[in-house]
Subunit: 187 residues, 2 copies
DNA sequence: GTCTATAGGGAGATAGAC
DNA sequence: GTCTATCTCCCTATAGAC
């Protein structure tokens, strides 16, 4: 793999594990097996490298989610598949954790891929919910944008609870609780 | 206010804003208007001070939540009051944000107050839901522990989405979406 | 209790050789 | 493209005076 690619992927991993403030250029170089000069040749510094890594993670998150949204089945079935997808729960969300990083939130260049990713996710979930309404699966009292935000929040909050407990259990409880509240639940 | 108290409160604030990794002893001293020697006289170091601050925040979070849980009304009414309570949404959750801090999660002394706080919250919410079941407000298909995890997750996830958007809107959408899904919704 | 001095180490980046 | 040397500043803590 080329150096640039190794640098970006290593930064994605470190950002996931330790966040922006907790990740040093030196640590990135070590993980990417690249020298100081090499890193600064390809990127202007930590911020630009982080921007590339965050953008990449955002693209990957969308692609992974779209796999479930675009599949067959009712709205609840597709949402449930998304929620119950295999996840490395105790590692948390690569994008969501950046929300706790003040240096990321303060820099528009770093924040916008985070913002965009969640905007897309909520929008896409709202479409699925709206399809469920049109199909008569959900009553008219269901608001797509509200419900979409609720679903995305259960995921992100489930990660938080799981990390606090150092166990996937709270995440799984939260997801099952939500699925159980959704109209048209299969069980 | 005494020095010890100022140190703890300043640490609580900084931990909330910048997390553990992003908070330096020097910043704490500045915020608390205390000298280097003063801080190290009262605390062995950053970790011990953080422990006191996190424990304090946990106690405060419980007390604030209990105000809504112990109030009058049906389960959904009390849960809704808790969810819709006035919050500094875009600042996020003081406890939840620590979940993204690897140095906090790695140290049992720092992690346990975080873990304990969320365990208490889920347990307390489960009690309220169970009361709702006994009162006939919720059907037998509702699982108290699952539903409690869902409610706590919507809050924590709502904070994440709000911080990403730099607006309380996603939080409010997520909360309204959840309330709308709960049985016995007043509206 | 609080102050100042000091210290080893890492963060983040620049410069110029190869 | 990559390497090594160098630089400034801050992190976290210790030591000992007052």
């Amino acid at each position: 793999m080329e150096t640039v690619e190794r640098l970006i992927r290593s930064t994605q991993e470190l950002l996931w594990e330790r966040g922006y403030v907790g990740t040093s250029p030196k640590a990135i170089q070590r993980a990417a097996d690249a020298g100081q000069g090499s890193m600064y040749h390809h990127f202007s510094g930590k911020a630009q490298l982080a921007k590339a890594a965050i953008a990449r993670s955002g693209v990957e998150l969308r692609a992974a989610a779209e796999e479930q949204f675009a599949g067959p089945g009712t709205a609840t079935e597709r949402i449930t598949r998304y929620l119950e997808r295999d996840r490395d729960v105790v590692r948390g969300c690569r994008i969501g954790r950046l929300t706790a990083d003040p240096d990321v939130m303060a820099d528009p260049e770093l924040r916008s891929p985070v913002d965009e990713t969640f905007r897309w996710l909520r929008g896409r979930l709202a479409e699925v919910v709206a399809e469920g309404k049109r199909a008569g699966e959900y009553p008219a009292t269901i608001d797509p944008e509200q419900t979409a935000a609720t679903i995305a929040a259960v995921l992100q909050g489930g990660y938080v609870l799981a990390q606090a407990a150092d166990s996937p259990e709270p995440f799984e409880l939260a997801v099952r609780g939500l699925v159980n509240l959704l109209p048209g639940d299969a069980e």
